[in-house]
């Protein structure tokens, strides 16, 4: 009976062990607490031509003309090389027990510049590194999904940085 119990426990533990290494490692800099509040935004002329989903929600278009501030948002995505030779997992007996067969790395950097005329009022930047391993049982997120996660993470991080400076930005007369 004990043997059956041990066998069942092992059977339950095995998928847990195999899947535990599957979630991507995410490191974001600067490491600050995430603020969920959406009651604050800085308005001005937005200088950004990418997907609006990735633009920090703490910036908005100025309704008055001409706008006092320019809000320039830029991001960059770079990809790491998969250094695992494809011949290796083919002949590696550990592949069948979930040994990694490859790795994907995505690095997302973002920068928000708040400009008044040609002078810089404030700059916020954030870097997110996402790293995950692939196994024969689990491919995990695609590069596109990792990229999206990274872009949303840097967006949220910059929003949180701006909330920290909320009083400063209000004093500077930049709040809506």
């Amino acid at each position: 009976m004990d043997k059956i119990h041990t066998f069942c426990s092992m059977l339950c533990l095995l998928p847990t062990i195999l899947l535990s290494g599957c979630a991507p490692n995410v490191v974001i800099t600067p490491d600050i607490a995430l603020v969920q509040s959406k009651d604050f935004s800085v308005s001005g002329k937005i200088d950004y031509d990418g997907n609006l989903e990735y633009l920090p929600r703490t910036v908005s278009t100025e309704s008055h003309t001409p706008p006092l501030l320019t809000l320039r948002y830029r991001y960059d995505v770079s990809y790491g090389r998969d250094s695992v030779n494809q011949a290796l997992p083919l002949f590696n007996p550990l592949t069948i027990v979930g040994f990694p067969i490859g790795a994907d790395t995505v690095v997302v950097t973002a920068k928000l510049e708040i400009l008044k005329g040609s002078s810089q009022v404030k700059t916020y930047s954030s870097v997110c590194v996402l790293d995950k391993h692939r196994t024969i049982f689990w491919e995990g997120e695609t590069m596109s999904e990792l990229r999206k996660s990274g872009l949303l993470a840097v967006r949220n991080n910059i929003e949180s940085q701006m909330y920290v400076d909320k009083d400063l930005l209000i004093k500077a007369g930049m709040q809506n």
Binding site: Y79, R134, I136, T142, R147
Partner: protein, 146 residues
């Protein structure tokens, strides 16, 4: 005895046919496009020749549109409208990369085939021009009809 030889010959012929059907007649060796059309960027999809997974080919798509079938040792220049574009390929698992395509810019996506349970798995990755220019040099053009 006669039947034995007949079975062997049939096996060889069928195997050869199956192997050849995975190949494609590729065009000339890589050369950079002379001019990128206005309001487009060019994305080179390439797959360096490799013994591992050499017989496996897969379609590379944007949305539901097939751009090309990526063969071993082939490349295909794709002219893309500017914007966020997701390129993906699938056999028993899916691989995808997303690019922010800008007018007049050149991008490189490398495809490989990795280990799978029943069939090789596609793996797409964005490669820097410095590395890609070396790897793509021996690749041959995949005809548009493919």
């Amino acid at each position: 005895m006669k039947n034995y030889w007949k079975a062997i010959i049939s096996f060889i012929l069928i195997s050869s046919f199956l192997l050849i059907t995975g190949c494609a007649s590729l065009g000339p060796v890589y050369s950079k496009v002379d001019k990128i059309p206005d309001n487009t960027g060019v994305v080179y999809l390439y797959r360096p020749s490799s013994f591992i997974g050499g017989g496996v080919s897969y379609d590379v798509k944007i949305g539901d549109t097939v751009i090309t079938t990526l063969y071993n040792g082939g490349y295909y220049p794709y002219y893309s409208q500017p914007g966020e574009k997701e390129f993906w390929a699938k056999t028993e698992s899916k691989s995808s990369v997303t690019l922010d395509v800008r007018s007049g810019q050149t991008y490189y996506i490398k495809g490989t085939v990795g280990v799978g349970f029943f069939v090789g798995r596609p793996h797409l990755m964005v490669v820097t021009p410095e590395i890609a220019e070396k790897e793509i040099a021996k690749c041959k053009l995949i005809p548009k009809e493919n």
